[in-house]
């Protein structure tokens, strides 16, 4: 399994940098098509949550992203340095049809084969997401 680790300051421009890095990594590892889109969106949802809600766009707090790629699975761990931890996730109200936020966790749960939210000792949150590559083969066959 190949594992790649990145670290970003909690600044607005980090979202684009992270997506650029992730896109390059997936291209280099020949991860293409729908599974590439799905993985990029779940990682971006967890990253944006860490950036805006947990780390509150404070550039002194960092976000660590660890990506693992093998033949059967794509995995991502997104670590923040916020203080809300699990409470920030569980206290969120479900979005109404016209809410401007609050859909990210639902999108992660829709696309991910597994997702866990673990509060670290420092209070930050580690979001771990996996998508099975077998699902993509099944989807491609169904097309």
């Amino acid at each position: 399994m190949a594992t790649y680790e990145y670290s970003y300051p909690s600044a607005l421009e980090s979202e684009e940098r992270m997506l650029d890095d992730l896109q390059t990594l997936l291209d280099e590892n020949s991860v293409v098509g729908r599974i590439k889109n799905h993985f990029m969106v779940v990682v971006s949802e967890a990253f944006t949550n860490a950036l805006v809600h947990a780390n509150n766009l404070n550039p002194e707090r960092r976000i660590k992203v660890v990506i693992s790629i093998n033949k059967t699975r794509l995995s991502a761990d997104i670590h923040d340095q916020g203080r809300d931890g699990l409470e920030g996730i569980s206290s969120k109200k479900p979005p109404t049809s016209e809410s401007e936020s609050g859909r990210g966790v639902n999108i992660i749960r829709h696309y991910a084969d597994s997702v866990s939210f673990i509060q670290t000792r420092g209070g930050g949150l580690k979001v771990s997401i996996t998508i099975d590559r077998e699902d993509e083969k099944i989807t491609d066959k169904a097309k």
Partner: protein
């Protein structure tokens, strides 16, 4: 994200390309605000070249829809890539936006509204 704007039959058509996310969404909101300030209230977003959208980008579109509604305007979307269409359906936002398959369908819709 790149935004190109053209006018056709009184409708401002914005063609978006690239990623629609937190940072680029702010740019789009500014462009829309500029159009609404100029009383251009009939707005169409062509999403054919949008290669990535996340919940932040969707939130921006909801915000724009509410702004347009406040101004008594109309907002339409078209040419969603299958992946983008899928995100709209997962989040059930396909029910609250006017989404068309093509720009031609959009123009026909505006014309039939004018006739009726």
């Amino acid at each position: 994200m790149e935004i190109t704007i053209r006018e056709e039959q009184g409708i401002s058509i914005l063609s978006l390309s690239g990623r629609l996310d937190l940072a680029s969404g702010a740019t789009l909101k500014d462009e829309i605000k500029g159009l609404l300030d100029k009383e251009r209230k009939l707005l169409h977003l062509n999403l054919a070249q949008v290669e990535f959208i996340n919940s932040s980008g969707l939130g921006v579109l909801v915000s724009i829809m509410k702004e347009v509604r406040l101004c008594k305007g109309r907002l339409t979307l078209s040419d969603l890539a299958s992946y983008v269409q899928e995100i709209f359906e997962i989040t059930q936002l396909s029910h609250i936006f006017e989404i068309f398959a093509s720009e031609k369908e959009v123009m026909d819709s505006y014309q039939s509204e004018t006739v009726s």
